[in-house]
């Protein structure tokens, strides 16, 4: 199909102009409730991909996900092996001493090899990209976590109801 782009802008050329494939502002809200290494990455990578294509991103960390945004734990996340069928290991082998450490080391090595950023770097990148990062107030209270223990990239400590306000109109993803 041959089209001219002068005073009239045809649909295809209009596509050239847009950041995201849709003209309406898109938004994703991702709830990160797990703190293992293998469950930390999916939410962070999805949020980052959203920002890369101009989609607004809100991240809400709760329960075990709090480990991802705590200074004391962010660099020490472990790969979950027990009860994880994805390891293709018999449960009694996965539960042996040292298996979790081994799986964590293997995963971190692979992450480095394929040039994927660390969890800490991803949080920094997300913050720089304009993603909103929030911690769950109830989880903070339950786990006795103080505001000053959280990474500086955490914008605020909010309630579940606050989360629903901030995620109005967003696609919600629970991890």
């Amino acid at each position: 199909m041959q089209t001219m782009i002068d005073s009239t802008i045809p649909a295809a050329a209009n596509g050239v102009a847009m950041g995201a494939p849709q003209e309406t502002a898109r938004k994703v809200a991702i709830i990160c409730s797990k703190g293992s290494l293998d469950m930390a990455y999916p939410g962070l990578i999805l949020a980052n991909a959203a920002r890369m294509m101009g989609i607004d991103a809100v991240l809400f960390f709760t329960f075990w996900g709090m480990d991802i945004i705590r200074e004391a734990t962010v660099d020490k996340l472990h790969a979950g092996v027990v009860g994880n069928p994805g390891t293709h290991m018999p449960a009694m082998i996965a539960g042996l001493p040292g298996m979790e450490g081994l799986a964590t080391r293997m995963m971190k090595k692979k992450i480095e090899e394929i040039d994927v950023p660390t969890v800490r770097e991803l949080i920094e990148t997300l913050s720089d990209s304009g993603a909103e990062i929030y911690a769950c107030q109830m989880a903070m209270e339950m786990m006795d976590i103080k505001r000053e223990e959280l990474l500086p990239q955490v914008q605020d400590v909010i309630t579940a109801m606050d989360f629903f306000e901030k995620s109005a109109g967003a696609q919600v993803i629970f991890i």
Binding site: M1, A12, G15, M18, G19, A20, M52, I55
Partner: protein, 104 residues
Amino acid sequence: MTTAMLAGHEITLNDDGFMTDPQQWTPEIAEEMAQRAGIALTDRHWTVIEFVRRDAAEKGTAPGLRRITAETGVPTKELYQLFPKGPGILAAKISGWPKPKSCV
């Protein structure tokens, strides 16, 4: 896929509006594409575009943002200021390449 006239050149675009043949790209096309995205290209944009062109030609695919930041020294925050509607796809689009395969 569709054909369009941009900055006096005939170019081929895929359904998402990315150029399918990087050889058809000219700096004037970049200027016009940027303008349509509401961006007036500055030297900083050109630092990014020139790197994307060079790197993509070498690797066969447009670089992700982490690679752009590491190789050009343009920080993440600035990339989002330069391409507010999504640097991950706009840097590639304006450089005449399809969207990057990288997630970071």
